[in-house]
Subunit: 331 residues, 2 copies
């Protein structure tokens, strides 16, 4: 294994410490509970938004903490749900008089941790609700899921509820918006290579030199099928077709299109994929009104990508266009 | 080879087409000369800034076109200088009454193309100057260089001259600023893996399962030495030490610190590296005033990273902090 890592057990805390050092004015790292929070959280003029999940999906979700996005993120170890008591402590730390919304990708371990943390927080008098995200159309149930998995489309839920909460929406309204965005968001991904968790030191699964995994999960879970590598445009079609057909997205729709890199794929390849997807959607009469190309939800160093579509209306488009500032930025 | 690619000969044009489709309001792709330019260029109230180089280093430089950054980028094929006549045509397309500044990383092929294009443009009456960037401390001369190579530190030159030109500085002043930033910027990188150019289809060089290349170039050129893989903090020290000692950076200095991913390294690992570098600099009495973590100048899918330091003064810090908008963004 060749990675930038010291003790694999310290991989996540050392990453979080680096993130906070890079953003001293806006982010705070709380080592006791392994969480990242905004320095100005909680604010009583807004609902606090929290996301938790396993690590290894960066920038999701610790690098999505910031104004107009998350108030805090409580990550677990690589590909592991955060401990229930850390979620509970996070909820208390960001408790606002307007309440707390917990965002959770739909994995069984995460659901358990967050359900229990919510129970404990409610018993303490914290106003808290939970929203589950399940945008992945690849499989119905899977290795660690009952129902669909939550993957890169999560970004759009965070962005929308983050904007709504900044604008002063109350908890019920923020939940309504989050559920609405989740309901019109669909994603599917494929792996060109497996990923290597630091603590394991070897690839998480085997994939032949000319093989790809279509519908892969962000923890390397099996998808729909194995196939041989194919030209780039066909890779895009292989993902776009099931995504479009699932909602379905139809002629006349306005959409946000995201090409999300899974960690090891260069951005040059992602823009090539974007171009083909954009043109294929245009041929179906679907207009791309907002574009997102880059890494949003990764699987460590996995090569591959996912395609996400969101059906827009004026409300969602306005929320996605609202200003935001996160801990990961170019400038 | 498993990549998102169709015909390797069309890799760069298809990427550029995708980039323009993702930014229809701000970017234009000109297929005749394979260039990306701002839709509002040229503007006679500012010097036009152009960067050319081989492709394969994205987001450098085609994704750095935008307000406050480049007016145009004319890329060559992967790891190949742009054709001289394309540079010439680009210069004419963005010709402003305030003149044109050509930014060129110091590689022999690029220098030749830009020197000839500048001659031809001057003969046409275009006011044009050229600035060479050579921030890489790893080697003095190398495979494709006389003198030092230009690598990720280039970003800071673009950012500073872009901000100055937006503020209305004349060509001589923009050149002065660019030369000043280049003179206080130092970079060194290392490769954990080789990269695979689409047209070659196999790794560009051989690196053992436990080997790294210290001082690697962004085209896979040899650096200072091979070594065995080491813990993350030691990897950082291996780069930080020669970078600090070269200028040298000294106690009391304020700096910008960039941890740049080479294409295949997850951002989680880059933040871990950032944390250690930040703390090591603090121990030397060097204050990190601006932080940059992510991919700025890559080598296709190479795993690895580089460390860049810029010594700041009020002028440079102000220019780096000025607003800018580029074609690659999270929101």
């Amino acid at each position: 294994m060749k990675k930038i890592v010291n003790d694999p057990q310290r991989f996540v805390p050392e990453m979080l410490e680096g993130l906070a050092l890079a953003n001293p004015d806006t982010l705070r790292y709380v080592p006791e509970y392994n969480l990242i929070m905004r320095t100005d959280a909680p604010r009583d003029d807004k609902v606090s938004i929290v996301q938790g999940s396993g690590s290894g999906h960066e920038p999701a979700h610790v690098m999505a903490v910031g104004k107009g996005m998350l108030d805090a993120a409580c990550p677990g170890d690589v590909f592991a749900a955060p401990p229930m008591d850390y979620v509970y402590e996070t909820t208390k730390l960001v408790n606002s008089s307007k309440g707390v919304l917990l965002l959770v990708n739909n994995y069984t371990g995460d659901r358990m941790a967050f359900d229990m943390a919510q129970e404990m927080s409610l018993a303490d008098g914290v106003t808290v609700k939970t929203l589950f995200i399940d945008d992945d159309v690849a499989v119905q149930d899977s290795t660690w899921t009952v129902g669909r998995r939550g993957v890169a489309g999560n970004f759009f839920v965070i962005k929308a509820v983050g904007a709504a909460s900044e604008a002063g929406a109350d908890l019920d309204e923020v939940v309504r918006i989050g559920e609405k965005v989740n309901s019109v968001t669909r994603t599917m991904g494929l792996a060109l290579t497996a990923c290597t968790p630091p603590a394991k030191g070897s690839p998480l699964f085997e994939l032949g030199d000319d093989e790809i995994e279509i519908g892969v999960g962000i923890h390397g879970e099996p998808g729909r099928r194995r196939a041989k590598i194919m030209p780039g445009n066909e890779l895009v079609d292989t993902l776009l077709e099931p995504v479009v057909n699932d909602l379905p997205f139809e002629s006349g729709d306005r959409v946000a299109l995201m090409i999300n890199g899974l960690g090891g794929t260069p951005i040059s390849e992602l823009y090539l994929a974007y171009g083909h997807a954009h043109k294929q959607l245009a041929e179906r009469g679907i207009t791309v009104a907002r574009s997102y190309v880059g890494e949003y939800c990764t699987s460590l160093d996995m090569a591959g990508f996912s395609v996400t579509l969101v059906r827009l209306d004026d409300e969602i488009e306005g929320l996605l266009a609202a200003p935001a500032e996160i801990g990961m930025r170019i400038f």
